[in-house]
């Protein structure tokens, strides 16, 4: 709680500093990154490339709402057989983002919930999945930093979030991404 309060205070302070002009309004983000599972599942699936898409709306200069879709591709490293098999983890949902802009940089924290889907049952062997199970609710929380370009509509960002899928035997992972953000709207 104390830590969360500090984060908000820092963000508000940052927001009050001299900031490069940035649009607020509807936005879209496209990112590339990687997803890694945390123990105990890290031994059953390798780190894999990820694609993230996000659209949303800035409700205020410091608050935005977004929906996202994310897909990551992993090699299953379960005890053989099977060998050299890959699966995809799809995640989608909605989240809230709180942040502020200071000079060229914006900082934010985000959190949300959604649905996760495994493309195959290859992790059934290690009981990450129950027979017939492909979907789980998922929760995520994280933060990031954005670099605002001189063009007020565009920014580059680096973000990381931890996610949790309780139906997948409490699967936990980290999603890190580099993204480009486009915001449609005025300053």
């Amino acid at each position: 709680m104390m830590r969360g309060g500090c984060a908000v205070a820092i963000l508000l302070a940052a927001h009050s500093a001299e900031a490069r002009p940035a649009s607020t309004g509807f936005f879209a983000e496209g990112g590339l990154g990687a997803v890694a599972f945390l123990p105990p599942d890290s031994g059953n699936a390798a780190i894999g490339p990820a694609l993230d898409l996000r659209i949303g709306r800035d409700l205020a200069s410091w608050l935005s709402f977004g929906i996202f879709l994310s897909a990551s591709n992993h090699e299953a490293t379960v005890p053989p057989p099977p060998q050299d098999q890959w699966f995809q983890l799809y995640r989608g949902g909605a989240d809230l983002r709180i942040g502020g802009l200071s000079d060229h940089f914006a900082f934010f924290v985000e959190g949300g919930a959604g649905v996760a889907m495994m493309s195959t049952n290859v992790l059934e062997k290690v009981m990450t999945l129950e027979p017939g199970e492909r979907f789980s609710i998922s929760f995520h929380a994280g933060g990031g930093i954005e670099y605002q370009l001189e063009n007020r509509h565009y920014a580059f960002g680096l973000a990381a979030a931890a996610f949790y899928a309780p139906q997948f035997d409490n699967l936990k992972g980290i999603d890190a991404r580099l993204y480009l953000r486009y915001t449609y709207g005025g300053g």
Binding site: A28, Q85, S119, T120, P131, G132
Partner: protein, 265 residues
């Protein structure tokens, strides 16, 4: 952007993602065996394992897919029976791992046989020439390749989808076409569109060929080794393969154990 999102959603909704099927000792196919531990002195029965494909009964299919069989039956010669589980429904492959439990290097064979909804194939029951003691043993549907393994080593392998496809067709050629097992297994038929029974009669088109519903593995090592295997099923239609695999309730999948093929020279 809209196209990207739609594409992304479609990728997530494809229906032919593979399903990995392993033994389920508490399921309706409890006698399946997908781990074989044997040595050079093991009896044939101890060298064999089986795994069923978790196919749903056609009464649980969508009406359109059930009706398709009737439509196909109208298209082919009346003497040709269109089966329930056809090649178009799913692809199969078998992934296996052999572990040498001995401290000496060795050699092993992994043979693949199987069954469709009408007939099984067990080469050990086939006598190609009852008048001769020197006739060769009947071949398996696939495999029969010696593989060397180091002491305490592990080797992985796969019977690929095209090999299982060929195996399913070979079994059809033997049982419906009257082909000699060697002729069936030594010719490549996976791209054929039809075959004619040797005894005469209407050609059997590809759309009426049966897919395997059970895979049998014979593991022949010369030292103490263990083989573990599992099925990889890639369905092309929804509702054919059960999501829960062999852990499905007994009334939701069909476990086929048809009689074995009897060869008539």
């Amino acid at each position: 952007m809209k196209k990207l999102v739609i594409g992304f959603v479609l990728v997530g909704c494809t229906n032919n993602e593979p399903q990995y099927v392993t033994c389920a000792p508490m399921g309706p196919s409890a006698t399946d065996k997908c781990s074989i531990e044997a040595d050079g002195a093991s009896a044939l029965a101890d060298q064999q394992g089986s795994l069923h494909v978790p196919v749903k009964p056609d009464t649980d299919w969508r009406a359109a897919e059930r009706d398709r069989r009737m439509e196909l039956q109208m298209e082919v010669d009346p003497s040709v029976v269109v089966p329930i589980y056809r090649l178009e429904h799913y692809d199969l492959s078998v992934e296996w791992t052999v572990t040498n439990l001995d401290s000496a290097p060795g050699t092993f064979y992994v043979d693949l046989n199987g069954a469709n909804e009408e007939v099984g194939y067990d080469p050990s029951l086939i006598d190609l020439d009852p008048t001769s003691d020197e006739d060769p043993p009947a071949p398996p549907l696939s495999g029969a390749v010696p593989i060397e393994i180091p002491a305490n080593g592990t080797i992985d392998g796969t019977f690929r989808e095209d090999q299982l496809l060929e195996a399913a067709i070979d079994l059809e050629q033997m049982t419906r076409g009257g082909y000699n097992p060697f002729r069936a297994t030594l010719t490549i038929s996976k791209n054929d569109e039809a075959f004619a029974p040797l005894a005469g009669g209407a050609e059997i088109p590809r759309i009426a060929w049966r897919q395997l519903v059970r895979v049998d593995i014979v593991f022949r090592p010369d030292h103490h080794m263990r083989l573990d295997f599992q099925l990889r099923v890639r369905p092309h239609y929804d509702d054919i393969i059960h999501d829960k695999g062999l852990n499905a309730p007994a009334d939701e999948i069909v476990v086929y154990d048809p009689p074995d093929y009897v060869y008539t020279p």
